[in-house]
């Protein structure tokens, strides 16, 4: 039921979880910053503003999509399902991607505006999709970028589906394309089947602040695409940045999104005035995300207190306009000689530190396994099983159990399975960065 009391745009709130107490000489300050947006379109469903979103669907049409033919059929059906999910008034286009990018609908470098007619025409155009050719994902993204740039929509999003490696393009070209597109639109990436490269697909999603996932069975594509598009339709605010202000002498160690998935933002900083920098967070609907901020402060004497960082959620203004501050939270440092206070670890910080270690252990374990390092793989994946179990990350624990035989989850004792399905390994790899929230006790 619609809640008419809520305005269209979500309201943001920031909460900071930290142990601000440092021992004498202590310098590292950790904080989990929880950002919650409430009251957006996803909550109301009625608050549709025309022209607020533009979406480009990029469908892999390389030759391999016909092997097996279910992939091409699945891709066509999934794209149609996504089009059906478009809200009226949303600008959209469909691109067929091979070693070049081709507009499928509406064409002529334009975006269509979703309504019953354009949806039907778009789905009709999909029937003409045929496979053949190579894969050069950078060309797809550049075309999508060109189309989206012509739109005045605040929410600019891409959905990219591939089934293979980016074989007809230098990795550097894809990287440069991603750098160019970052901040101009967001993009979810999906790999269908098991012949694609996990790092490529997750790399696209990370760079463009979207999600990455595997759809091993093409039959599930339509369902996944519908969900993805619903998610896009729920976005109300784009280009939100996490602004971090730090005093003189404070070094930023890292800034990571830690929930719902891990995403290191440290290198994504753009300067925003004296001692302040913006870290992109993309677009927001009704949702909550958490960020782990770690800064190193100059040491001070016991009894001192300082502001280690001010975290602000900002909406950049138009050129020359100041940014709009949506919410803010303070990260503090207080030096104390009370050891009980300074040695305590904040539960949120501990939890997300564990989740980050979990993702790293999975990735390193799978890497070791590929290299034939059984000992290293067993140790890392065992540690991952232990962390997943202790933190209550049931999904990851389940994925791990398809790659290793768990002897003792608490102790982290595992044996590598002799035979592992590619899909299971790739699923674990792709989803290793999914985190769970702190267990509420």
């Amino acid at each position: 039921m619609a809640n008419f009391a809520k305005p269209n745009a979500p309201r943001f709130s920031v909460e900071v979880y930290q142990n601000e107490f440092l021992p004498e000489g202590g310098r590292d300050v950790h904080a989990i910053v929880t950002v919650t947006a409430t009251g957006g379109a996803a909550a109301t469903r009625t608050a549709v503003a025309d022209g607020t979103a533009a979406v480009v669907l990029m469908v892999d049409c390389s030759g391999s999509m016909e092997y097996p033919p279910e992939k091409m059929r699945g891709a066509r059906e999934a794209t149609a399902a996504a089009i059906d999910t478009l809200r009226d008034g949303t600008a959209f286009a469909v691109i067929a991607g091979t070693h070049v990018a081709k507009e499928v609908y509406p064409g002529q470098g334009r975006l269509a505006v979703a309504d019953a007619t354009t949806r039907d025409r778009a789905k009709e155009a999909l029937r003409g999709l045929s496979s053949g050719g190579g894969t050069a994902i950078g060309t797809w993204l550049r075309l999508a970028d060109g189309l989206l740039r012509g739109s005045s929509a605040a929410i600019r999003h891409g959905i990219l589906l591939t089934d293979g490696r980016n074989e007809h393009e230098e990795p550097a070209v894809l990287r440069a394309t991603l750098d160019a597109c970052a901040g101009r639109f967001t993009c979810d990436a999906r790999g269908v089947g098991t012949d694609w490269d996990v790092k490529e697909v997750t790399g696209i999603a990370h760079a463009l602040l979207g999600s990455a996932d595997i759809v091993a069975d093409p039959a599930h594509l339509a369902e996944d695409f519908t969900r993805m598009m619903e998610n896009v339709m729920g976005k109300e605010v784009a280009d939100v940045a996490l602004r971090l202000w730090t005093p003189v002498g404070v070094e930023i160690q890292y800034v990571k999104q830690v929930a719902p998935s891990l995403l290191d933002l440290t290198d994504r900083r753009t300067e925003a005035g004296p001692r302040a920098g913006d870290y992109p967070t993309g677009s927001w609907g009704d949702e909550s995300r958490e960020y782990h901020v770690c800064v190193r402060v100059p040491t001070a004497t016991v009894g001192q207190e300082m502001l280690a960082a001010r975290t602000t959620l900002v909406l950049p203004g138009a050129a020359g306009e100041p940014a709009t501050v949506l919410a803010q939270g303070l990260v503090r440092a207080v030096w104390t000689d009370d050891l009980a206070a300074s040695t305590a670890i904040n539960a949120q910080v501990a939890h997300y530190t564990g989740q980050a270690e979990l993702a790293e252990a999975i990735q390193q374990g799978l890497e070791a396994r590929k290299m034939g390092d059984v000992g290293g793989a067993t140790a890392k994946l065992g540690r991952a099983v232990q962390l997943a179990s202790s933190s209550g990350n049931a999904d990851t624990a389940r994925l791990l159990s398809k790659v290793v035989d768990v002897v003792d989850a608490v102790a982290g004792t595992v044996r590598l399975k002799a035979k592992v399905a590619d899909a299971d390994e790739m699923t674990l790899d792709t989803r290793s960065t999914q985190t769970v929230r702190v267990k509420k006790t």
Partner: protein
């Protein structure tokens, strides 16, 4: 008069309105004694073979602020180095036998009545030498034949008391003493700063480069700025108090309230309350502020309508406890409820009334430094209890890590609130030092406290409070420091009529 020309810590010249030294950050409003050029020498008794005088082997005479038996309180034999036997007899009514009889009969027999258990409720002793009690003082007690010192007819007697007035909210904020860092109308208690608003535009005291943002942090170096509560001073004519964050704590969790009011007969009454927030509890700063405020309000309500000061003090402590309890979260059994200690002093009608819960203390320091100072409170602390129960020697008990754990406090998770109160009728002038452990940790015994206290404490209470806080900071300032100085002037000679029998303070148990 108290104005310093330079920083007491680094001698940097100060500018008008400086509260902290621009170079070293030293709080300039609380100069250490040495820095105060106009500070007369503190009289130090010609070093006697001083009784090692552990201040208060709490065991004996429990409760009631009777001083330690180890202290030559009775001064039966002329206390060496402490002046004549006569002057060593500060007459405090709670123990007339010991205090008053001294000049008359040098009977060294100490405290004949070890009448109370260690946890002895102070009220329990009201029939033993309580001024309102039935005990008959020996002939020649300095306060006359009657045990009724609380004569309603006592005229205003506060030595330098101004016109009786009500406390801060509605009244005269008190003339800020010269040397207070705040200008008129700027006294911290009077005009709490508007959150955020007042902060803008100030320059950071830590780096001197950045301005202070609305959150109270420097926009350049991030350092927290001194908050109003970091250092508070207040002076009313008859009482002064200073509270300081200290050097090792990041905020001030102590609080105080001072006030002057009038009894029904028009004579002045002075109130000082000092509270120490329990750091291990949540929001200790709020607890202490709530307790000090509530106790003060309660006394200001009760005293003008003629309530017995000891009873009023008891009620005030209960009111303070209720105020602190109200801060506790709704969830029952919350272990971390806000908590604090309380010590209060009321000077009214020639009487000195003390009340406390926890380990904050009150000391009596006679103006005549040859006379014996004494501690008026017994800590609600683990060490004090151990000693009182005879389970440990004093040295052993105070060396224990648990020594300073308090056994009584105000707060929702307090076991059994047991407010201690006592009333004295000193026969000579002096000052009451009401303080938190942030001070007495650096001047534990009454003698040490008397040595640190400037000789002119009675006439310059604010300055003396500043000196005491400075003493604690010089000693390391490991805790928040709060001290109130309440001068006590003896009544002009006047004998209360025999009919002036006030209601005995049969205390609520």
């Amino acid at each position: 008069m108290h104005r310093l020309s330079g920083c007491p810590s680094c001698a940097e010249p100060l500018e008008e309105g400086d509260r902290f030294c621009g170079v070293c950050g030293h709080a300039v409003s609380a100069p250490p004694p040495a820095a105060a050029a106009d500070n007369p020498t503190v009289p130090i008794p010609p070093a006697p073979p001083a009784p090692a005088a552990p201040p208060a082997p709490a065991g004996a005479a429990g409760g009631y602020g009777t001083p330690a038996p180890g202290v030559p309180r009775a001064a039966a034999e002329p206390a060496p180095g402490w002046g004549s036997a006569a002057s060593a007899a500060p007459t405090l009514v709670d123990d007339p036998a010991a205090w008053a009889a001294t000049p008359a009969e040098p009977d060294p027999e100490p405290e004949p009545e070890q009448r109370q258990g260690p946890a002895g409720a102070t009220y329990a002793s009201s029939d033993h030498g309580n001024p309102y009690g039935t005990g008959t003082p020996p002939e020649g007690t300095p306060w006359g034949p009657t045990e009724a010192p609380y004569a309603p007819a006592a005229p205003a007697a506060s030595a330098d008391g101004p016109e009786p007035r009500h406390d801060r909210p509605e009244g005269n904020p008190g003339t800020p003493a010269e040397g207070t860092p705040w200008g008129p109308g700027e006294a911290p208690y009077e005009n709490p700063p508007q959150p955020g608003g007042a902060a803008g535009g100030r320059t950071c005291v830590a780096c001197r480069a950045g301005h202070v943002d609305t959150d109270g942090y420097c926009e350049h170096c991030g350092h927290a700025q001194p908050r109003e509560r970091d250092h508070l001073e207040e002076e009313l004519g008859s009482v002064a108090a200073v509270s300081d964050r200290g050097l090792r704590h990041h905020r001030n969790e102590d609080s105080f309230a001072v006030a002057a009011t009038a009894l029904p007969d028009g004579s002045a009454a002075t109130v000082a309350i000092v509270c120490d927030g329990v750091s291990s509890a949540s929001r200790p700063d709020e607890a202490s502020a709530a307790a000090a405020g509530a106790a003060n309000e309660a006394l200001l309500e009760a005293l003008p309508r003629g309530a017995h000061p000891q009873e009023a003090m008891h009620e005030a402590i209960l009111a303070a406890a209720a105020a602190v309890n109200a801060l506790a979260p709704e969830t029952p059994g919350a272990q971390n409820a806000p908590a604090c200690t309380l010590v209060g002093a009321v000077v009214s009608g020639g009487l000195l009334t003390i009340g406390w819960v926890g380990d904050s203390r009150a000391y009596w320091v006679p103006d005549d430094r040859a006379a014996l100072p004494r501690r008026l409170t017994e800590d609600d602390s683990w060490a004090a209890q151990m000693v009182a129960a005879g389970l440990m020697g004093e040295a052993e008990a105070y060396a224990d890590v648990r020594a300073h754990a308090i056994t009584g406090w105000l707060g929702a998770d307090a076991y059994d609130l047991d407010p201690h109160t006592a009333t004295f009728k000193p026969d000579h002038p002096g000052v009451v030092v009401v303080c938190t452990d942030g001070l007495w940790n650096y001047a534990e015994s009454a003698r040490e406290m008397a040595q640190v206290l400037p000789a002119d404490a009675a006439t310059r209470p604010l300055h003396s409070a500043q000196v005491l806080v400075g003493h604690a900071l010089d000693g390391g300032g490991h805790d928040n420091v709060t001290v109130a100085i309440v001068p006590f002037a003896t009544q002009p000679e006047q004998e209360p009529g025999p009919d002036a029998e006030p209601g005995p303070a049969a205390g609520p148990e």
